[in-house]
């Protein structure tokens, strides 16, 4: 088990470091007029967070045998299958986009280890607060692919999973809103005295700049509520690079100000991501308050299917090393070496997944025509007089 309490120790370390500075200052009093060595604090404050957990490196080499040995062969294959599924979903959605059969869709290419590693650590009873790039995790948690497509296309049946009792909320568009709502759900879980249950929430590197990001983690921490905060740092908020978001060297350290332990993980390594996510979940579920995980990943392609062109703002030289870290390459190599995987098996799976997605799209396209009168009926529990009059007006139009 990774020690999440380490994060809390950082506060202690900072205090200790300040105390040491004070001693240093006393001895150097004659040389400097400064009381505090801010330069030193600044240059060392991120150190405890800059140790991303890794199990297999980008060449497929197992760098932490002890952690690797925690996985059974079956589990390794399952994790690989989930990444292959997500990549197939990505490829098929891009085809659908080109065919004009989808609406807004956020590509997930390159983020399979981060998304599936975290999703694999979720339990059915957990509440999920996804953002718009998190449809794959949402589907893993109980939404259907058809509902994902309907969300992208813009149809009310996209949220049928909520009605089925899946504990997941909407793919949030307002960046940060999911964080404050997650804190509320976590407090609700605590007040309901639900055991072994947490609230999961996702944002990206850009999302950590939102005020709601801090309010969410701080509220959950103040109430010591079981929330697990994930930051999928994929390097880019549309065209704005990670370094513009903050001068802090890591996003994991953003937890410390609110008393939330944070950690970085190699988000291109699904084994490391899963283990860290699981520990974060265990920590929160055990009543220790929230935890924060920053996955280091990369958005291989565009921000969205709506015309974003990464070549406008980033170079091929930047992209190349990240493409080499492709999460599928390294696990594929490990599994192939263990004779658990081969290209033929992968090709068959991809074909099978894509056939299913094509059927899911057909099902989505067969969704009933939406009625404005229904939207009006769902505006209030009991329609107000004006809304009631508009319901009649639209029902009359719709019956023609």
């Amino acid at each position: 088990m990774l020690n999440f309490k380490c994060g809390l120790e950082v506060i202690y370390l900072c205090i200790t470091s300040l105390a040491l500075q004070e001693r240093k200052v006393l001895s150097m009093a004659a040389k400097s007029k400064h009381v505090v060595d801010f330069e030193n604090i600044k240059s060392t404050m991120s150190d405890p967070y800059k140790k991303p957990v890794q199990v297999i490196d980008e060449t497929g080499k197992i760098v932490n045998q002890e952690l690797f040995d925690r996985f059974s062969d079956d589990e390794l294959v399952t994790l690989m299958e989930k990444m292959v599924w997500e990549r197939a979903l990505h490829e098929q959605t891009m085809n659908f986009s080109r065919q004009g059969r989808l609406g807004f869709y956020a590509p997930t290419l390159g983020e399979e280890a981060s998304e599936m590693g975290i999703a694999h650590a979720m339990k059915k009873q957990d509440y999920l607060f996804p953002a718009y790039r998190d449809l794959p995790q949402l589907i893993q948690h109980g939404a259907t692919v058809k509902e994902g497509f309907l969300w992208s296309k813009g149809h009310y049946q996209c949220y049928d999973y909520v009605r089925r009792g899946v504990r997941a909320w909407i793919p949030q568009i307002i960046i940060g809103a999911q964080y404050v709502q997650c804190a509320g759900a976590a407090l609700g879980i605590k007040k309901n005295d639900e055991k072994d249950t947490v609230a999961y929430v996702f944002t990206g590197d850009g999302g950590t700049s939102q005020g709601d990001f801090y309010e969410g983690i701080n509220f959950a921490s103040s109430f010591q509520a079981p929330a697990v905060f994930f930051v999928q740092n994929n390097g880019w908020a549309i065209s704005v690079p990670r370094k513009t978001q903050t001068a802090a060297e890591t996003l994991a350290q953003k937890g410390v100000a609110s008393g939330v332990p944070g950690v970085q993980v190699d988000g291109m390594d699904i084994l490391a991501t899963y283990l860290v996510a699981k520990d974060a979940r265990d920590f929160a579920a055990a009543g220790n308050g929230p935890a924060l995980v920053e996955t280091l990943t990369y958005r291989f392609g565009a921000h969205s299917s709506a015309g974003d062109d990464p070549s406008r703002y980033r170079t091929k030289e930047e992209e190349k090393p990240w493409f080499d870290r492709d999460p599928l390459i390294r696990l594929r190599k490990v599994l192939t070496d263990k004779k658990l995987w081969d290209q033929d098996k992968e090709d068959k799976l991809v074909a099978q997944y894509k056939d299913q997605f094509k059927q899911d799209m057909k099902d989505a396209e067969a969704a009933p025509k939406q009625k404005v009168s229904d939207f009006l009926k769902h505006t209030f529990e009991v329609p107000t007089p004006d809304v009631a009059a508009q319901i009649k007006e639209f029902e009359a139009k719709e019956s023609k």
Binding site: R163, A186, G188, K191, A199, E215, G216, N218, E381
Partner: protein
Amino acid sequence: MAKLTYIKAITDGLDQVLQDDPKTLIFGEDVGKNGGVFRTTVGLQDKYGTDRVFDTPLAESGILGLSIGLALTGWRPIPEIQFMGFTMEAVDSIGGQMSRNRFRMSGDVSMPITIRTPFGGGTHTAELHGDSLENLFVGIPGLRVVTPANPYDAKGMVISAVENNDPVLFMENLKLYRSMKDEVPDGHYTVPLDKAKVAREGSDITIVAYSAEVNEALKVADKLEKENISVEVIDLRSLSPIDTETIFNSIDKTHKVVVAQEAQKMAGVGAQVASAVAEDDIMSLDAPIGRVSAPDSVFPFAMAENDWLPNADDIEAKVREILNY
């Protein structure tokens, strides 16, 4: 039955809903041990415990985001935003999130959240404490915006708001908190959320008002009665939706109307009332629709409040103008 101030009537109503429904929660800044900066929640934490009535970190977006997550997990939140100006920090939670959730879920998910917040001029507060911001909120589909003008309605409406399964922005008038007393029944009673009230019957002209302006309108009615001018005063109570039926019934009788509000003139409640009358009942009128409002500047510096806020004199002047049209 006891004579209660407006603020005590609200406290009484909150006490009632905490007692009636174990899923109700009151939270916000200073609402716990301190009982709120105006003492609206005084005594409730002692009576119901820190699990039901509790302080939060100081962040309005966090408070309303928390409300949404709590509602999703089965709770009935009653958050307090300490002053209405501070709702500016939480507009997404109100307009972008809680008010849309029933629609998003095709009617199957409720957001039974009552946001209590004090507003209204005349108490010489610091900036962004007394502003009437209802004009910003009444255009949000799925959100009810209500404000009582007297202690009886204050208690009955806060109970109705909490019992309602949709989000309600419950605006409490700062100036009225301790300036008026009323007979308020003990125990549980409700006042409907979307019905205006005829605060005073009359036959010559109708004044449509809400919150503190209702009292200003009643002063005008008292004064003009001595001149044998009979003024009907309608207290809207609900700003979204607006009960046009009660307004039209009155205008059909008086044929003249003045709409009075403390908020600035641009768009918003008075404009909506005027537009509804113009659209659906204009043939009943025999004079133009009169409007009384604050001017379209920013809410003034405290020392100039009395020069800026519309008062009984302004309403009286407009009533005379419309009567003499």
